[in-house]
Symmetry: C2
Subunit: 200 residues, 2 copies
């Protein structure tokens, strides 16, 4: 199997959610693995060259409409969340902690968190909501609760985010394969061409 695809996302990103429902199937068509990376695109996030997407744009009527329209276009269930954006540190820490132990469980957790937020209208900033999700997946409640705030998982997430910044990630979703970055669901066709035919 060739080099994996790195998939960076923020749990608060609607486009990240739409990507999460597509990337594994796309990669599987080309016999590639996907490494999922939860990051947090908050005020602390400082991508290279200050290439930050303005909050006014992310919260705009255009983006709200575009997200809903894109979900229909891709055939993915979507309901505009009541709160947006929300804090995603706890979800991201739990994800990374799980991912270091069992990537399959981590992926199931990520899908459940994204769908709770973007389909069922749950507030995934609340640790109670995240623990409910963990229980549904038969994860150990105490262990997941520990991952929300212990020193090691905080440091683990920070390292993941620092690495993302250093690799040129500046939004969600962001994909890297063989050193090539692709930003957004709308670059999935180009990513797929890259996998099919090589660099262009």
């Amino acid at each position: 199997m060739s080099a994996p695809i790195d998939f960076y996302f923020d749990f608060s990103s609607p486009y990240g959610y739409l990507a999460s429902e597509q990337i594994d199937a796309l990669a599987a068509r080309h016999d590639r693995a996907v490494m999922w990376h939860a990051i947090v695109l908050d005020a602390q996030f400082q991508p290279q060259g200050g290439m930050k997407i303005p909050t006014a744009l992310l919260r705009s009527d255009y983006v709200m409409r575009d997200t809903a329209r894109s979900a229909v276009f891709f055939g993915i269930p979507y309901t505009e969340p009541a709160q947006y954006p929300v804090h995603t540190e706890h979800a991201a820490r739990a994800f990374q902690w799980l991912n270091d132990r069992n990537p399959d469980e981590a992926r199931a957790f990520a899908h459940a968190v994204f769908r709770a937020y973007f389909v069922d209208g749950r507030n995934i900033a609340e640790t109670a909501v995240l623990l409910e999700i963990a229980e549904t997946l038969k994860l150990d409640r105490e262990e997941v609760a520990g991952a929300f705030s212990d020193v090691a998982t905080k440091a683990r997430l920070k390292a993941e985010i620092d690495l993302a910044e250093a690799r040129g990630v500046f939004g969600s979703p962001f994909f890297i394969v063989e050193g090539e970055g692709f930003w957004g669901n709308d670059r999935l066709p180009q990513l797929e061409r890259w996998l099919e035919k090589g660099p262009f």
Copy 2:
């Protein structure tokens, strides 16, 4: 024939260039006309809600790479310009002036300006370059020169830009059909679905 598609672009926008090479064929497949609108996305441009795309992003290595890659993906000739961005007021005024008289000539002028900048590496901020292009198209050199700076064409372009701001345009390319906005080449598939099957 149903409502036309409004196509907004800045002559300095590489994505605007890539759109200019695709939009008429797409519209023709669905029996739609396209109304071309040159605008200038400079410091004076103040879209609704401050949804301005940051200059750091527009000039980033990512966007430079993405533009070149997208051109290959779409099968459109492209050379990264030596100067970027450049002032496009003169080109936009001449375009709007022409467009009010003869949209076919204006479109030919727009294609020639875009290709001069993004294929042949000419600096389209220079009026001498624009006049050369006008001559190649058998336009009246004196008339075009007048359009660069006379009071009426300045006011005409300003009105076009004010209208774009009021309609929610915030980048290039930007398409509006039946009140629905689509930003970017990457939304052309969604625009096409809209034309095929109606609102979604």
